[in-house]
């Protein structure tokens, strides 16, 4: 009987139009990611438009201007300043003016002056890419210049420009030692391996949660719930069927969405291969995390079903997803800025009692071999789901589910309580 309800829920909720719209979103996200990735790759190899005008015309200024010209798409120095100015206004580029007296200033211990005029196409991330490239050009050109100036003082050892080598030997955190990496690399690695979990939880909750709440609202509005309640099946079967059915649809939809999201994120993180060298998770770790996600989803859906019981109709059901989404956002933000173990006790308790916190934290705990915390999270979510489902079944067994009135009836003489 439960399978019949699950099958109905899946058929009803997973419509062709829903799947098509999700696939479209997924493909769009993936395409954006791919575009981003390609743009990033282009940037790594890309040169920019650099026009260098050397007013000083000395051996020292020539080193700087030649070094910079090597990074330009073409040599603009033969073109007039006005034509380059007009060209860069339409496209983009950098005009560099090496002032007269550049070498003289350096030789008397002062700084040689170079004027730079930027031409940008817009204010997007990639519009500022030419400035990033040019910052790099300046660094390399300065190094070239310094090497040559040192030569004039007969110093040939380049190490004098970068005499200290700092080596990250180890990081000790939560009793675990990580060797030969910097804290920044550790943080990036951890983020890369764990930041998809909160996104999955949010997607699962928003998608299945809103569906299950709306489904309850529709059942009430269309009075199909009344019909269902007269079928020869237990009311707990209806509750379980709805939760599991909503969960199955949610997982399918989240999988489609995550495929697109994975490609989208790959666009941003795909080039950071060096950060994923710390492979600490095995199949058992992922199984534990999967179990934690599944149980938190069931807990979330039972919360949604409970809220759905309070919906009068489809319209009023629409607004009820918000409280559950907020509950998911709280641990997401809290754990983004602070570690679970470094937050104060009240916040720690708050994070722990929210069922969605546990899968969000599970991979971080596993990263530091804190398996017990993950086990406790799984046990908590299982208990949360069982207890909440028990309450929902009790409400389902009252008149409230039909009338929307008198949920809390206390009549001690006749032993008639809310359940």
């Amino acid at each position: 009987m439960v399978f019949n309800i699950i099958s109905k829920e899946v058929k009803e909720l997973l419509t062709k139009s829903t799947i098509i719209s999700l696939i479209v979103i997924s493909v769009i996200l993936g395409s954006i990611g791919k575009y981003t990735s390609n743009s990033e790759k282009e940037l790594i190899t890309k040169k920019t438009n650099i026009a260098v005008y050397d007013m000083d015309s000395t051996d020292i200024s020539l080193i700087l201007s030649n070094s910079m010209k090597n990074f330009s798409n073409e040599d603009f120095s033969k073109k007039s300043y006005e034509s380059v100015f007009e060209n860069f206004k339409k496209n983009e580029g950098i005009i560099v003016l090496i002032e007269k007296g550049f070498k003289d200033s350096i030789m008397v211990g002062k700084k040689g002056e170079v004027r730079i005029n930027w031409f940008l196409k817009g204010v997007g991330i990639f519009d500022f890419a030419s400035s990033d490239i040019f910052e790099n050009v300046i660094r390399i050109s300065k190094f070239e210049l310094m090497k040559n100036i040192l030569k004039t003082y007969r110093i040939t050892d380049e190490n004098v420009l970068d005499p200290v080598k700092f080596k990250n030997e180890s990081i000790m955190v939560k009793g675990k030692i990580f060797k030969n990496i910097s804290p920044k690399t550790l943080y990036s690695t951890l983020q890369n391996q764990t930041n998809f979990i909160p996104v999955i939880i949010m997607m699962l909750l928003i998608m299945s949660g809103s569906m299950i709440i709306s489904s309850m609202g529709l059942e009430k509005e269309n009075k199909t719930l009344e019909t269902l309640l007269t079928m020869p099946l237990k009311r707990e079967d209806i509750v379980l069927g709805k939760i599991i059915g909503g969960g199955v649809v949610g997982i399918i939809m989240a999988a489609i969405y995550m495929f697109g999201f994975y490609n989208y994120m790959k666009g941003f993180t795909g080039n950071l291969s060096t950060l994923t060298d710390l492979k600490v998770f095995n199949i058992f770790d992922y199984t534990l995390t999967g179990l934690s996600i599944f149980l938190s989803l069931l807990s979330g859906l039972s919360m949604c079903l409970l809220l759905g019981l309070f919906a009068r109709d489809y319209k009023s059901a629409q607004t009820l997803t918000l409280p559950v989404s907020i509950l998911a956002i709280i641990p997401m933000f809290l754990t983004m800025f602070k570690d679970f173990e470094t937050i104060n006790l009240p916040l720690k308790l708050l994070v722990f009692i929210i069922p969605f916190s546990h899968p969000m934290l599970s991979l971080r705990f596993l990263f530091f071999d804190q398996y017990q915390m993950v086990y406790w999270g799984i046990i908590y979510n299982l208990l949360f789901f069982i207890i909440l489902t028990y309450f929902i079944v009790k409400i389902f067994n009252t008149d409230y589910v039909i009338t929307g009135k008198n949920l809390f009836i206390f009549n001690f003489n006749k032993r008639k309580f809310f359940f």
């Binding site: 019949n4 109905k8 058929k11 509005e221 199909t224 007269t230 020869p232 008198n406």
Partner: protein
């Protein structure tokens, strides 16, 4: 055999006393009409008989079962709520199959679905999604859903509400036919002509109490009127 036996049935919603102690009996194979103004307690009474709502006081028996034996009662009844809809994203045929699954222990699944197809008269439209159906088509599908399981007791709340004359007549004739085959019906309706045509016996309910009842013919003679509408006006005022 007595199909429904209700004694001193009471139901309260907070301060509102919906049923103040009603008594009636319905025999097997009978079409029993429950009529009364809006808010009189008709739907509450039907919902209690169909096990959806609990009673506060009194005794309700459906065939051999006390109303507390919900699962046994659910196996032999079928309830059609007033203004009910259907799962719009399902096809008509899937809707029938979904509900037939619950009665697989009582009847052969395929026979049930075949009966549902026949009763609905929707033919190839059953392969379309319910969201494309007219109100009349949805109602016919719901009636088919109610009767395909061959219930011993069918509880119909406004079975023809919102239907045109053709659709309503088809459904009334179907109810008559099924009653002749042995199904007991308890019908609530605002349509006095429908009640007159369908019901063997009626009870008038007003403000949670039965104020009149009996065979339609006897009541017409008692009040010296030609139709139930006039009885209704005289009794309820």
């Amino acid at each position: 055999m007595i199909a429904i036996s209700v004694k001193n049935l009471k139901k309260r919603f907070g301060k509102i006393e919906a049923l103040k102690g009603i008594d009636f009996e319905v025999s097997e194979g009978e079409i029993f009409g429950l009529i009364g103004p809006n808010g009189a307690g008709k739907s509450t009474c039907l919902r209690i008989i169909s096990t959806i709502l609990s009673k506060d006081d009194g005794r309700v028996k459906i065939f051999d079962y006390d109303i507390s034996q919900k699962m046994e009662i659910k196996k032999i009844i079928s309830y059609l709520p007033e203004d009910a809809g259907a799962y719009k994203n399902l096809k008509g045929i899937d809707f029938l199959k979904f509900f037939a699954q619950f009665y697989k222990e009582q009847r052969d699944f395929n026979e049930m679905v075949e009966d549902g197809i026949e009763i609905s008269l929707l033919k190839e439209r059953l392969n379309d999604k319910i969201e494309t159906y007219s109100k009349g088509m949805v109602r016919r599908l719901l009636v088919a859903r109610s009767l395909m399981v061959k219930p011993k007791l069918a509880i119909l709340d406004e079975p023809t509400s919102g239907l045109d004359v053709t659709n309503a007549t088809q459904i009334r004739n179907l109810i008559k036919k099924k009653a002749r085959e042995g199904t007991t019906f308890i019908v609530s309706s605002h349509n006095m002509l429908e009640v007159d045509y369908l019901c063997d016996r009626i009870n008038l309910i007003n403000d949670g109490l039965f104020v009149e009842g009996g065979k339609v013919k006897d009541l017409k003679e008692k009040y010296k009127v030609s139709n139930i509408e006039e009885i209704f006006i005289q009794v309820v005022g």
